[in-house]
Assembly symmetry: C2
Homo-oligomer: 112 residues x 2
C-alpha cells in the first residue's frame, strides 16, 4: 500500500467509488474504468480491491445494487448511492480536503 509500493493509498478508495457514483448508478467494472480514465491512469484500482470495497460499502448501507444490462447488452451489477452514501461522500470529501492539505503543507515546508 501507500506511497512506497502500492498503487493506492489505503483508505482513499471508498471516497473515489462514492464520487464515481455521484452522477448516477454505475457497475463495478465501469467504476474502475472511470477512476483510471479520468485520472489518466494515475489512479488504478485492482479488481481484488474494488469488488470487496463495493460489497463492504453496500453492507454499510452506503450503496444499493441491482442487476441490469450495460450499453453493450451485458449482464452487470449496478451500484447507486443511498442517502447514507451521499452523506459519506460529503463527509469524506471534506475530510480528504483538510487531511491532504495538512499533509501537503507539511511536505512543502522548506527543509533547510
Amino acid at each position: 500500500m501507500s506511497l512506497n509500493d502500492g498503487v493506492l493509498i489505503a483508505g482513499t478508495l471508498d471516497v473515489l467509488v462514492l464520487k464515481a457514483l455521484s452522477w448516477g448508478p454505475r457497475h463495478g467494472y465501469g467504476i474502475g474504468r472511470w477512476i483510471s480514465e479520468s485520472t489518466d491512469a494515475e489512479l488504478a484500482v485492482e479488481e481484488g480491491a474494488l469488488y470487496p470495497a463495493l460489497h463492504r460499502m453496500e453492507r454499510r448501507g452506503w450503496l444499493e445494487s441491482k442487476w441490469g444490462k450495460t450499453d453493450l447488452g451485458r449482464r452487470a451489477k449496478f451500484y447507486g448511492l443511498s442517502r447514507k452514501g451521499r452523506r459519506q461522500l460529503a463527509a469524506q470529501t471534506k475530510r480528504w480536503k483538510s487531511y491532504s492539505q495538512a499533509v501537503s503543507l507539511l511536505l512543502e515546508k522548506s527543509s533547510i
Copy 2:
C-alpha cells in the same frame, strides 16, 4: 484507518516522519509532537503506529538511530535520515503530490 474512522491515512506516516527528520535528527516522541504541532493537531500519530514505523524504517535503511540526551536532559533515541532515507523522502513527496492532486481533481469534478 482512512477517511472514515481512523486518524491517519494508512501509508502516509512514513513520509511525514521522513520530513520531520529533514532538518536534522529528532527523537521519536519529538517527531510525533512535531507532526501534531505543525498541523494544529489536524494530524495526530498514535504511539502504537509511530514506534513500529520508526523500527520498520530503520530496518529498511532509511533511518539511523543513536541514543542521546534531549534538551531536558532525558535519555532518548535520536533518528536521522540516511542517504537512502533522503531518496525516499524525495520519491514519496513526489508521489504524494501527484497522487493527492489526482484525487483532489476527481473529487472536485462537479457532480451533476
